[in-house]
Amino acid sequence: MPEAKLSLCGVKKSFGKQAILRGIDLDVAEGEMICLIGASGSGKSTLLRCINQLEPVDDGNVWLDELDISAPGLDLGPIRRRIGIVFQSFNLFPHMTAMDNVLLAPRRVLNEEVQGLRLRAEEEFARFGLAQHKDKYPDQLSGGQQQRVAVIRALVMRPEIMLFDEITSALDPELVGEVLDVLRELRAEGMTMLLATHEMGFAREVADRVCFIDGGMIVEQGPPEELFNKPKVARTQEPCTYSLKELNCFMVISKGASSKLNFSALLTLDLST
């Protein structure tokens, strides 16, 4: 066993006949921040959902410390508590205030007295600039505020690792920054994080390692400067500027073509922004 907080060995997942993950190997060290990038539909979300066992894996293992959490028949409640996750949208429970959203799970699950929990939650609200919003309902909050509450809700469970699934991609551009700031703060604290993102600039800035996923495999990985500046894959395209949307289109159109081509397009995009 490698010295990793989280370790994936040959993880495979299909939906029906469609193979989404074709054997993912990935070690995440304690305190490491890894960004997963790849085209839409390449399986980033599926990978994250397989990590916290929201989707059972078909084959392979997911190790959390010394425990194989992908083994069938485990009681997943206590395991999921150790892995926080924030999704793209529909995160918060709309019938509860932000504070109740945050307190529901710890109250039901953790053996802590409510008073202490509430204090801890209030500290988190204050830390992320939401102190005056804690008694509002989700639909009274902006998208960025909602995502920050979702992060707080995951954090009060004191997870050992956090997963983020494109948590800024449903937001208006001007709200993206405040959510990325939260991630920076967690990064500074040394939280172990795995995040699927389309924010290349951000990945480049904060990631310890970037994994490029295509066709259900990690086709390339490494520190961001290495990956973005000197890709092992030869560039087959002249530098040109693609917006993210165009890039996705491009990747879909060129689905039949080699993944290398796609990747270099991706790099081109990043260098030009």
Partner: protein
């Protein structure tokens, strides 16, 4: 600035124009509706009395004297309808919820429970209420149960609860399924159990969403309570029937109908109001 002001004033003018236009339209349709209603009412009022049997119908259905005489007792009998309704509702919701939850379980080990729930809903929605009332109301006391347990009030209530809980279960299940799957995912990912997820996250949202539909079920139930008259309880319909035989006059039925309308019309309006508010809130 100048353009802004100009823009606003032209806006104002078009808005006023539209308002005027709409007011004119409204006025015209009001006139049309008023005139056509008046024609229909007038022709009924004028033509029906010309029918050969009108005098007979008038004395046997719209007899003011009989109406005044029977109304107090009918109202009193209606209290039974209200009482049966009142104690049926909590039972219906409890059973309906249990069935809906049985149908929503995901664990393969509990698959038989789902089958049971599905069968229950199919059976009791598939059989007319009257039949269930007959079968349960006559069948069970026929077993020769001792005194309080052969009461038609009890078994009539049971029949209503069986039928209506099937409908409510279906409505609730629809509500549960309408909650976005990510809500469940978010709760499960926090380490909540399936049970807590249902109880604290899914159900509160689902129930809120189906309140209007349930209001309509309750209106229907209030009317169907009268069907228990077939198996014995002296509620309003039965009481009206007794008066009919006694006085050889149908006016008590008309009175009973009016009493029902006094309750069901406001309730239906309220349900519609809730439904509309819901639709507006969501769009």
């Amino acid at each position: 600035m100048a353009t802004g002001n100009d823009g606003r004033s032209t806006d104002q003018i078009t808005v006023n124009k539209r308002l005027k236009y709409e007011a004119r339209l409204r006025q015209r349709s009001m006139v049309v509706a008023g005139v056509s209603t008046a024609i229909v009412v007038l022709s009924i009022v004028l033509l029906v009395p010309l029918a050969p049997g009108w005098e007979g119908v008038k004395t046997s259905f719209f007899n003011g004297e009989v109406f005044a005489k029977t109304l107090p007792k009918l109202l009193k009998a209606f209290l039974w309808d209200v009482a049966i309704f009142a104690w049926s509702v909590p039972l219906i919701f409890a059973l309906g919820l249990a069935i809906a939850l049985a149908r929503a379980v995901r664990s393969p080990a509990l698959f038989p429970l789902r089958i049971f729930g599905a069968a229950y809903v199919d059976i009791f929605r598939g059989v007319p209420v009257v039949l269930v009332i007959y079968l349960v109301g006559f069948g069970v006391p026929g077993l020769g149960l001792p005194r309080p347990w052969n009461s038609p009030y009890i078994w009539g209530t049971v029949a209503l609860v069986l039928t209506y809980s099937a409908y409510i279960a279906e409505v609730l299940r629809g509500g549960i399924e309408s909650i976005h799957a990510s809500q469940r995912a978010a709760a499960i990912c926090l380490g909540l159990s399936e049970r807590d997820t249902m109880r604290y996250v899914i159900l509160p949202q689902a129930i809120r969403r189906v309140i209007p539909a349930n209001m309509n079920m309750l209106v229907a139930l209030q009317k169907d309570v009268a069907l228990l008259s077939f198996i014995g309880p002296v509620e309003i319909l039965r009481q009206a029937g007794i008066f009919k035989s006694l006085l050889a006059n149908f006016t008590p039925y008309v009175a009973a109908a009016l009493i029902f309308l006094c309750v069901t019309v406001p309730a239906t309006r309220y349900a519609d109001y809730l439904m509309n508010r819901d639709r507006n809130a969501r769009s």
